[in-house]
Amino acid sequence: MQTVLPNFFFYLLAAIILFSAFLTITRRSAVHSAIWLVITLLGVAGLYLHLEAEFLAAVQVLVYIGGITVLFLFVIMLVNLDEAAKERQFNRHWALAMICAGVLLLELVFFIAKGEQAFYFAEPAGGTLQPNTQLIAYALYRDYMLPFELASLLLLVAMIGAVVMAKKDLT
């Protein structure tokens, strides 16, 4: 039971994620896609929980579902996507997409074949029930301070850029 149950949950979540991800890209209605995307993201959050990364799971839900998907939906409602839905859903870059997918597949096969040795695992941080929220904080604000700040700066730049572009459109 100790080993069966976690594995069962993993495969269940993986199946849900794959299934809903597939539906996300095949739905004609953008809103339906968004709903399936929500389920995909929930599945990912479930995986995080499964890995005992509660903080990450909660943030995944808060940011991706509560924030980003809601904004997606908001934009979908504002923009006239009904017209777009009637047009062709797939564009001409399918060859490129196939190549990318092929590469990805190769990669997957390679890692699966190679097994665990392909990865370098950090030592699990000390203790069992150490609140991992704190660990994340240490990682983000102490160990990887510079990359984190750079990433946030990048996001800030992107946001300012978006605002500037939107403003220009208005005038």
Partner: protein, 389 residues
Amino acid sequence: MQIPLPPAIAPYFWPVVYGVILLAVFPLAAGYIVLLERKVMADIQARLGPMRVGPHGLLQPIADAVKLLLKEDIIPELTDKWVFWISPIISVVTALVALFLIPMSDKLPVPDLNIGLLFILSLTSVGILGIILGGWSSNSHYPLLGALRSTAQLVSYEVALGFAIVGGLMVAGTLSMQEMVRNQLAQGVWFVFYQPVAFLIYFIAALAETNRAPFDMPEAESEIVAGYHTEYSGFRFALYFLAEYSNIVIVCSIATTLFLGGWLRPFPNVRALDFLNYFPVIALAGLGAFCLLGAAREARTIEKLGMAGLGGALILMGLACLLPGVLPAVEGLFWFIAKVCLGLYTFIWIRFTLPRYRYDQLMRIGWLWLIPLAIANVIVTGVVMMLWQ
């Protein structure tokens, strides 16, 4: 807890029982919150409110519930059926799960997540999906406008709400709901006194988060009829209603836990005020006596009996608290509920006193005042805490 349980299910048993009880009781409680709202509204507006069903309308929530459940389930022709069907469920499920995680008392078997508050917030943010999808799937203009308004409003105010909570969290030093209360006990002070600005911002943002006046544009009936749930009726409407009131209770509970000392009585460390521990007894008995007095004024015999019975029951409950071991068990819960009710009363009071903001004004308040203020509060708190150390 004396029942022997197999170890595999032992950690899950009592929380599940609690969850089931909550699921069964809360809809009724929400009905009574509505009754409370109507009664307070009536009092503010110089009238009586519901008086017909039961003494002083005390059975009104049940009548309302029966009415809502028996109504025809209408799904309009051109809606997106599946989405229309699932939206209220998303809203209500997330709200109830979040409610389940709120420690109303240290005696209740509530799972103590180490990310408790964050988890509750993430759940409520998923609840927004129910609103936006419900508005969209109705395939009608007013719900769509309502959904757009709500989304913009909820997403914006979530930021302010989050920053206000961060202010409180910095003082609390934990995300666990129960740990927060224990820290307040340890420090001997409610965090509202450390973080008055954060509490104020939290309260305003909470009004907006729950679509309450003066920020109730998403369902401003004089502008966009009923907002996102215009097309809903009967049971589905009841679900939205339940979700809405659950959310109100949740935000009040978070405020209580984070800022107002959760299940603690006022000044928990001052021995001289120990008599406050008997507050449940006094309150229940007082309420009972009030009911008995009211019973004398009732016109119809059945209402006289009902009122007297209620009064008697309340007094008995108050006396039962005096039995050994009962008082410590219920005291926390009692204080928690009292504080939440205070929050609810304030919500209702504000609703019936203030006019409604306009949509753009709401946004301006959120982005130009609340969020900068909340961020400033976080920075000031951080600086002060650094200096203090």
